[in-house]
Subunit: 457 residues, 2 copies
Amino acid sequence: MSNEKIPYKIYLKENEMPKEWYNLRADMKKKPAPLLNPETGKPMTAEELSRVFCEELVKQELNETDRFIAIPDEIHEFYKMYRPSPLIRAYFLEKKLGTPAKIYYKFEGNNTSGSHKLNSAIAQAYYAKKQGLKGVTTETGAGQWGTALSMSCSYFDLDCKVFMVKGSYQLKPFRREVMRTYGASVTPSPSETTEVGRKILSELPDTTGSLGCAISEAVEAATTQEGYRYVLGSVLAQVLLHQSIIGMETKIAMDKYDIKPDIIIGCAGGGSNLGGLISPFMGEKLRGEADYRFIAVEPASCPSLTRGVYAYDYCDTGKVCPLQKMYTLGSGFIPASNHAGGLRYHGMSSVLSELYDQGYMEAVSVEQTEVFRAAVDFARVEGILPAPESSHAIKAAIDEALRCKETGEEKTILFGLTGTGYFDMFAYERFNNGEMSDYIPTDEELQKSISTLPKFD
Amino acid sequence: MSNEKIPYKIYLKENEMPKEWYNLRADMKKKPAPLLNPETGKPMTAEELSRVFCEELVKQELNETDRFIAIPDEIHEFYKMYRPSPLIRAYFLEKKLGTPAKIYYKFEGNNTSGSHKLNSAIAQAYYAKKQGLKGVTTETGAGQWGTALSMSCSYFDLDCKVFMVKGSYQLKPFRREVMRTYGASVTPSPSETTEVGRKILSELPDTTGSLGCAISEAVEAATTQEGYRYVLGSVLAQVLLHQSIIGMETKIAMDKYDIKPDIIIGCAGGGSNLGGLISPFMGEKLRGEADYRFIAVEPASCPSLTRGVYAYDYCDTGKVCPLQKMYTLGSGFIPASNHAGGLRYHGMSSVLSELYDQGYMEAVSVEQTEVFRAAVDFARVEGILPAPESSHAIKAAIDEALRCKETGEEKTILFGLTGTGYFDMFAYERFNNGEMSDYIPTDEELQKSISTLPKFD
């Protein structure tokens, strides 16, 4: 433990930075179920995966044994631009709530992509470059991932083709322009440029698209062009590995000042942020060295953990990706049109799904009006205008802090503040105007989308 | 000098933070000319100024003798949210340019207002609160200042009335919503809510407004309501005082690692950032203790220093504010409609004007297409998407670094990166589409606007 007074914002020094990513699966006794080939129903081989993904990333995807994986020097070099991210004590929020709880948040929004997504984008771009590829393809919804990837590709001088969910492409021209500023090409999805896009358009000409559909187009674009591979910003085990930098930095900072979190909270869409934040802490829990409560927070409008089923499902609408065992609402699930922001994917990381299934993690769902109320409260006292996604974690952290106020417990709460909401002001405008509404899918609706699951289980 | 290796990003520790603002005027042998009462042509008294401004701020405005002014504890407390700001070595930019120059930038954009404006907003809100006021009024153009003030008023629970230039109000709904999220009321200017607004609208019903006009409305709103005062985000000596935190932090960080800048560069609109950044360095130059080159960078479309006259002028279109001696293009000057971003004020801080007139500072003007080219180059290598305003300084810094490449000189260049461009993506879109154009006002146009100067000189 350092003798220094704990600073309000903890920035690690350069020589304190993690040198390795942490591979959570190494500590899991029961491993996540393997990816399956959708045609054969058999586990995907490295060779099969390599047609879609970069070779080194395939190795990482299949690596369940090495606890630590060295972070390449080139990625350390890029980290200098935006890491370490600060671990911030939420003094102002604590004061406003009048809670005895100590609240900390790891803030990943201080970079141009505005979120933690850059952590995996730079890793995936690096391995694509190392493999000698021309470029990569991907999908993006709200645009955080696409922005992060375009920044990373620009850095390594790689071509970057982004399929952007059409609704976001039209409603969020700003993120689109950030991507273009970094040299990416941005295509509204579904598009006429792919077979799967044309098929979807012929069936649903007026659709504003979905993530699942954009994934299918991006995979097709990667596998039908020489020198391209597909990259994905969440869900996959490799993404959690890259995102473990969040948790590693947090753990080093907390250990330095002898701070032990009782509760660790993260918003959960595909699981990239939550998985990254909790990794080294969960490792301790899995090894029986320490205990923590972990809480995944998801939107009530897209409740894969709290109301989904744990089964093999398609990762994309076009059903071209490997099947993954996960908590899922069915690949046909699309959140209601009043759903703001991200966290709209139908499934959840298989690593997190397995941990949740084994009881190592809790999950709660929250409605978006109360999420935005928490966001505004947070913005006003902490000075950071949070992304709608991140605000799910804020809401849950506030709830836990208020519980401490009732019981008088001085718990230490850590949550992940994944990003800023500067590109989400239309949603804030709706909230400011009192026009935001909530939607909780009915059991019938969920049963219908869940009924589209494949029969491999 | 510290024995530590110089970190890529220098963050001061809490105990290294400046305790005082630096009042540059104390070191000026010839002081800036006093503000004049527009009705009498005589220097404004403290009492007269106090009808418009908060009492403590009037004292600061008139204080030309105290070199240091203590930063109140409450402001230190707020600083914790977003200060210290990092001093960053532009390694990636240096590498791309292939220059032997060492480039550093002080980055003020890591806060929700997205710029350095928060430094003066929090000070002005604090003094308004201390005086027991109900609230403050102000104007905003691009919205950086209004956003900063709304955050600060929210923190001190003050009412915040913002008059936003109508063109920006319509074209930049996002900043408007950030202000509303922080509880401010935002009125498009000119408006029907003030006498001066109604007068302007009757003469120019279709006008999209100007800063000078919004200032007049805000001053009227402050002076005709009990418990309100007007606050201004640039130009005034008090603002430079609050912004000196930028230079003070920078100087402490540079001194710690024995880095001595040869050239210090800042963008200049009203002068708040430039004045704040250079303050302690300029102090050394004025006292003959050190020498630095200072370069003010302004848009070729609004060239107050490089093509204006040094004379007393109105600060606002409505001619209700005190007269100020400054480099000015005339209060009737409005930049061409293709001008993107801020830096559109017709005049320049009287402190900087006087220093420029005495030859302590240089000025250059740059055209916006080349500014955006520099912005994109910078964004791609340094990872930060800069505000159009800040990009003027980037452009000049790149030019100086390339000059070093020619001569082989290893100069140290410091520039101020005042903010991020996340709310300026319409301008980036124009640039990305090749639709951005330049405009340099003709001599005739400038003579016409300069001919509107009052005859007090």
